[in-house]
Amino acid sequence: MTIQRLMVANRAEIASRVFRTCRRLGIETVAVHSDADAALPYVAEADHAVRLPGTAPSETYLRADLLIEAARRSGADAIHPGYGFLSENADFARQVVAAGLTWVGPQPESIEAMGDKIQAKRLMEQADVPVLANLDAASATAADLPLIVKASAGGGGRGMRIVRRLEDLPREIEIARDEALSAFGDGSVFVETYVERGRHVEVQVWGDAEGRVAVLGERDCSLQRRHQKVVEEAPAPGRLSRATRERMHGAARRAAEAVSYRGAGTVEFLYDEEHARFFFLEMNTRLQVEHPVTEMVFHQDLVELQLRTAQGETSDLRFPDKPDTHAIEVRLYAEDPAADYQPQSGVLTAFDIPAGPDVRVDTGFAAGNEVTTFYDAMLAKVIAHGRTRDEAARKLATTLRRARIHGVTTNRDQLVAILTSRAFLDGEISTAFLVDHPPEPATADRHAAAVAATIALAERARAERVVQQGAPVAWRNVVSQPQRTEFTSGEVVEWYGGRTYAVDGFVVREASPTRVVLEADGVATGYDVAVSGLRVDVDHPHGHVALARVPRFTDPADAVASGSLLAPMPGTVVRVAVEAGQQVAQGEPVLVLEAMKMQHTVSAPTAGTVTEIHVQAGAQVASGAVLAVVEGDTP
């Protein structure tokens, strides 16, 4: 049964990715979108689009009934689930098949077998795949520490908690249950030994329609933060002997065969480099986020392979054991690494990541799109390909530096710092990499960027003049003081205008509202400046600096009362822990906010009285919104 029209029951990046292959193969495309995603490019890319009213995943991308109805109405004959959402939901797969549609994925039984992590481990043991033993939470002792609590239905780091003190275990299990329930609708969790400096190595497998399983090498996805993958690469670098690699590939093949796997899947292992041993973690019965690195080094289109299997094709495709090139992928997230990776939202006033022959950019966003916190914070995957790992890393770092991303804080600088760090280039990677080698994004150019921003702002003001357009910027016949331009991050630029600009340490070689060339120490450097309200984005050859102007004037009526608790990010109020008039101690939780499926507690900054509460449970709040006011006790 040849697929004519395919619907992707997913959003953004992965929808675009699947559509790309469909277009090449002549398959018509259907997108579904929530209200929040209506303006994203993938919706326009599809031949047809179906709206899923609402924004929350539970109202939209997790609604099997609406999705199947959308497929029916749009005339789709197949559904690709992407990753996340319902991609590993066996019931959904069954409903798709029952509706007479082609399901682009493994058989529901395979999903089910691997979906329950506890059951899956048992199955793997039987298939001679090494596994870590489950621990009983009640009888765990200090000797078992550290431990990890995982959601049985989990993935993507949600519902995963590391426990280093035994007394924390019950509470962490509780939190993991809550997160798992909220994210997957299933609150069951289990406890395992946590391998501190383990590596996360996974094997790409592909089963044809007759259950013949092929292995397409492995990927290393050790570099993680909060169990979210950040950097992924193929092949796995560092100390991984040919023998171990082959054993791992063999184990992955057996794992897939044990569940009669069809299509693209990934068997994840915890690799203990120290002892050259590995343990089965889970099998992802879907296309993996990081699949492009495998595609690049094997020159394959995994989505095409998925579609072939779904169409019932058998194959005698043979893949090389080991690729002769290297590919690295980074995940660009809308998050602030400096603020505990808080998810960020806002409008991408600029979004341009230069792709090239060896650089692939998979993204669901374009300039002008709004980034919301309803879904995953990933903005793009950027993948570079090189003869060697170092070459791939270098290309990737340069691509990231040259990218124009304005309006939303991202982990870009952190990614560049990782990719250029000695430790990374030496292959010293593990799940603890970010703890062992905290990335140090370059900060040296902030002042120069502030100077460039200042000059560009001045030129912009000149361009916007309605009178005296011919007068030089900030011209004075009697000079009394420098002009001052202040930014919220503390940068202050003092400068003089007139016939020429005068700024300490720099010669202004070129000035316009969008580009400034500054010469320092005999070296001229160009800065591209983009202004959006008070926000000023400066891009220079070494990266990007986001600045925000301190407004010249503030209406006192707009000033925030002292003691106000502001929402640190956009999100939903889960719980208000206090009542107006209540006495609170310093650090006492005032309310709990949920964003990106993570709970954040907003606590009292000082001991005092709660004088105002502006929100209630269930309320959606914007970043910076006043949640409550705590008036400090007067000593």
């Binding site: 702002l457 003049r465 007068a471 900030a474 002009q483």
Partner: protein, 527 residues
């Protein structure tokens, strides 16, 4: 570096030193005391008030130079752009004797008001003044009434007046906010009353305090004199800007959209002006540095830099048409120092032509006066000089004057000197202005003294007179210099020649707040 440039740079440095004296106000300690109280200095207030990156043309910065009063006369005046509106701004300098007005302060504010009135500008006053400098009250009190008259006349002429009160504004000073269309008072700082507690006690026996007599809160909530109550100085400035933003201001003439920068770098002006004023220079070179370059006709409509009028007649005076920052201007510039009959006749015709086409005029002075001598008197030099003075006196297109070098004798009048009320008059540091050159004046005195002695039959002590001659020459020399004349308010400022184009451009833009309408009525000419 040319000798001319070196000499001019020296003079420019000297000018910066004189300006720094004005900026220093009441001195470091006094300024520190104000800063410590969280108060801003007048120029700091102005920097906040004007649009970011806009120009501020300070006027009469050297007022009071050479007098017993602080240079700048305890007030800052100038033209700044607020929310895209060109405004006349005045700001008392409280660091100089509490911002008290002396005779020069009053003259400087009169001049500022005149500029606002002639060019049709709203006025924003940043008020903090202890009132009149009492020892000189006799020179201030009677004429000073005009200050308040000007505010309300301005209002009546639909030129809004806004007072931001930062501190003291008492007794007569209370009428500045009192007469203004809009008043903003800074909380816990503004003090506006006719009589303070001691005076009230003396007059009526009533016990009172500053706040109940004239505090900002009281005026905002009780008397209604304050239209807005500001939290602090910055807030007052913010409110002031919002007021201007809502004035619905429309200039009479929309500005040009394109123009070309000069074909030659204005910086090179410094090489042009000889140190010795006896050496003439070609004003066409100066003009080329000041006016718009040739831009494509479809872009700027300026086919040539300078279209000279009557180039072969009256060659001591150059006349012609050009543009500055895209605005048309007719230029009259001295070429050989002396003005002859032909030059005066040519000037008369040119002024009439400018009035016919509503084109503003620019006068560039470098003149030693009208030619003297039998042939010239008999040729009607007085008639022709009078025609020229008649034409510029009655011309109604805006006039701008820049004194580049010499400006002596009736040449000062014919070339639209201060008494002929050009809209703006600026002086280069190289300029000199007097009834005649110091040496000539001393020489004339000697001849007159010699003749007087001869008529009385007394011997003339030529050697003895040399001492008198030297003193007079030195005194005239000093009184001919730009700082001295600027101190007397005989110009609107001494300027760096390299800024001339910018200043003229600003002035022409400011002028456009009122329509430019030439006259067809002049006095009776005696051709």
């Amino acid at each position: 570096m040319t000798a001319n440039r070196e000499a001019m740079l020296d003079k420019i440095e000297g000018l910066a030193t004189e300006h720094a004296r004005a900026v220093a106000g009441g001195g470091e300690r006094s300024v520190q005391r104000h800063h410590d109280r969280g108060k801003l200095m007048p120029r700091e207030r102005i920097e906040l008030l004007v649009d970011e990156g806009s120009a501020f043309l300070e006027l009469s910065p050297l007022a009071g130079w050479g007098s017993d009063f602080t240079v700048g006369a305890s007030v800052v005046t100038g033209i700044g752009v607020i929310e895209g509106v060109e405004c006349l701004i005045t700001a008392n300098d409280p660091s100089v004797k509490g911002g008290a007005s002396n005779p020069w302060t009053v003259k400087k504010i009169f001049r500022a008001s005149q500029i606002a009135e002639q060019n049709g500008l709203p006025t924003v006053s940043l008020v903090e003044s202890g009132g009149a400098d009492l020892p000189t009250q006799k020179e201030i009190f009677i004429p000073g009434g005009k200050l308040f008259r000007d505010i309300t006349r301005s209002s009546a002429a639909k030129l809004p007046t806004i007072a931001l009160v930062f501190g003291n504004s008492t007794a007569g000073g209370a009428y500045v906010p009192g007469m203004s269309d809009y008043t903003v008072m800074v909380k816990e700082q503004a003090k506006v009353f006719l009589g303070g507690p001691p005076l009230v006690k003396m007059a009526t026996g009533e016990e009172s305090d500053d706040e109940s007599l004239g505090g900002a809160e009281m005026h905002a909530r009780t008397s209604g004199l304050a239209d807005y109550l500001a939290d602090d100085e910055r807030d007052a400035i913010r409110i002031g800007r919002r007021i201007v933003a809502r004035l619905n201001w429309r200039k009479a003439t929309a500005g040009p959209t394109t123009y070309a920068e000069p074909d030659v770098d204005p910086d090179d002006l410094l090489d042009l002006i000889p140190t010795d004023l006896k050496i003439p220079f070609d004003p066409r070179d100066v003009i080329a540095h000041l006016v718009d370059g040739v831009s494509p006709v479809d872009g700027g409509g300026n086919g040539a830099v300078f279209d000279e009028f009557k180039p072969l007649y009256g060659t001591s005076l150059v006349t012609g048409w050009a543009r500055i920052h895209g605005r048309p201007v007719g230029i009259l510039a001295n070429a050989q120092g002396v003005l002859f009959s032909e030059d005066a006749q040519k000037a008369t015709q040119f002024v009439q032509l400018a009035n016919q086409t509503d084109t503003p005029l620019l006068f560039l002075h470098n003149t030693t006066g009208y030619m003297v001598g039998k042939d010239y008197e008999q040729g009607g030099i007085i008639k022709h000089g009078a025609m020229m003075i008649n034409a510029i006196s009655n011309s109604t297109v805006p006039h701008l004057t820049v004194i580049l070098g010499a400006s002596y004798g009736a040449g000062n009048y014919g070339m639209n000197g201060r008494a002929y009320e050009p809209r703006f008059l600026f002086t280069w540091p190289s300029a000199k202005s007097a009834v005649m050159g110091p040496a000539q004046l001393a020489g004339v005195l000697e001849i007159v003294a010699e003749q007087s002695a001869a008529s009385k039959g007394e011997p003339f002590d030529k050697a003895g007179f040399q001492g008198i001659k030297d003193v007079v020459e030195a005194q005239v020399e000093e009184q001919s210099l730009p700082y001295f004349l600027s101190g007397m308010l005989y110009d609107d400022g001494v300027i760096d020649p390299r800024d001339t184009r910018t200043i003229l451009g600003i002035c022409l833009s400011v002028i456009d707040n009122r329509p430019v309408v030439g006259t067809d009525r002049f006095g009776v000419f005696r051709p």
